[in-house]
Amino acid sequence: MKKLVFIVSLLLIISIPLILLEGCIPKEEQSEITEINISVPDGAPALAIAKMLKENSQFEGYNISYSIITGGSTAINAAVNNNLVDILIAPTNLGAILYNRLKGSKDIKLIANVFNSLLYIVGKDSSVESLEQLKGKIVYTIGEGATPDLTFQYILDQKEIMYRVTDDPSDDEIGIQYESDASVLLPKLNSGLVEYAILGEPAVTKTINSFGCYELFSLNDLWNEVTETTEGFPQASFFAIGDILQPEHKDLLNWFAENSMDNVDWVNNNPTLAQETLEDNGWATPVPLNTELISRCNMEYISAEQAKNSITSYLSVLFEMNPISVGGSLPSDDFYYQG
């Protein structure tokens, strides 16, 4: 018993200074130069900062560093939680989830939509022209519970095509199966273990170039068809987090917006240069960039104000399918940055 008391008190003695210390460490003095980190996930999103990476674009009074993070949404969340990033690209619904989860502790705002859907259904059978023809087949998809999965299910719902998560679909339904990421799905497509798959760029181009697959459907087109719109769905967006949203940094965000818009044209005109730049910065995508791939990425910089309508309707669709996919509730107006 004495021992126990001793150990418990020891633990307390050790932990108290640690807890106190945290509050006592002086906040870094406000220096003239503000450090800004801009991060994008590996893969197509990196295209959105290619020009800035190439030119190491800087804005007066700031020291901006650009980086490509590998490791998918887990790495994005880790970067956000550890305050490692001020501006980042994330799936639009992940931004909404973060907005809801971080409420009260950290601000996160959507500054612009940069990518409409870059998801496609690929397969080796080029004769497939309508989704109806996929009945009785299995469609493998990446991103369970995320954009690829949810949008595909929504499209099937709207087209009144039955589907089920199964590897043994009957003749009047589509079977859905999941894989953790494209790196697992690609070898299976190549070997024929998988016949149809939903993939994002640049994996789509890889299957077309190397495995003899065809682009059968664009989820953007299917989305437009069922929603009777022309804009497609806003898959990935730029978000700003924390202090950078303070009014004094407004000029920086405006400068960033201009650069991002220039970047879209630059990437379209200089695919090879863009690829070299990205590869020098840790881009782990083994596909040669060409204009076809870039156009399939549907990259366009649309400010939050202009994109707000399409984003809210997109998020409402996800919300109706599964409220958790946008973090439990639809973000309110302060989710959209007003420049």
Binding site: E144, A146, T166, D167, Q177, Y178, E179, S180, I324
Partner: protein, 254 residues
Amino acid sequence: MKNITSKVLLKNILWPLVGLGIFLTTWYIAASIINLEMILPSPVESFRRLFLLFEKSYFWQAVLGTLTRSLISFCISFVIASALSIISFVFEPIKKILSPLVVLLRSVPTMSIILISLIWFKNAVAPMVISAIITFPILYSGFSSSLQEIDPKIVEMSDFYRVPFFRKLFNLFLPYVGPSSLTTIQSGLSFNVKLIIAAEVLASTTQSMGRYMQVSKVYLDTAELLGWTIMAILLSYFLEFVIVVIKRMIIRWK
């Protein structure tokens, strides 16, 4: 008499409960300091989410799926490991032939086996293959060392009297190695559950606990993730408990 039982009760139930209490209190305090559910939800919230899951049919399907996969892969691994350990105990050369393979299997990084299996197999099968391969060397070494404990003189004697192999198996080997093997089985089985879940996360296996853990990670729903985690712990406990009961029965029967 009454005094003794209360002492036993104190030793076996009260102290473990104190340990559990300290753990839960620390968790609760840590969660209220951090005060952000996305990073660390409180134990109350995690258990509440677990109870909510109890009402969902997909929850039980997933638990059953994971349990079935664990048992199947464990049985495969068990049958191969026990057969090979007995054969290699009886025929020395086989033991020598197997030794580099077992060392190889034991030293291959777990992640390599997982990543390669994900590419080779369908996502319902991959977790079973993975955990069977990884559990095998553990069981094999455990069984082999319990076989070594058999008195060599008895084996020699049975050889001398030309006792048939299957009689030797049931009347000599199994009763001898049973209890100590059960300890190996006990730890192997809960290790297997953990492996299966890890592999299910990476393979997105349909009707599996791993898949739902992955989904709750995607949605940053840490409370639900911990709810599933608590269920995984309960599942391991349950399997270990079954083995302990079997062990007691064997000892009593002896």
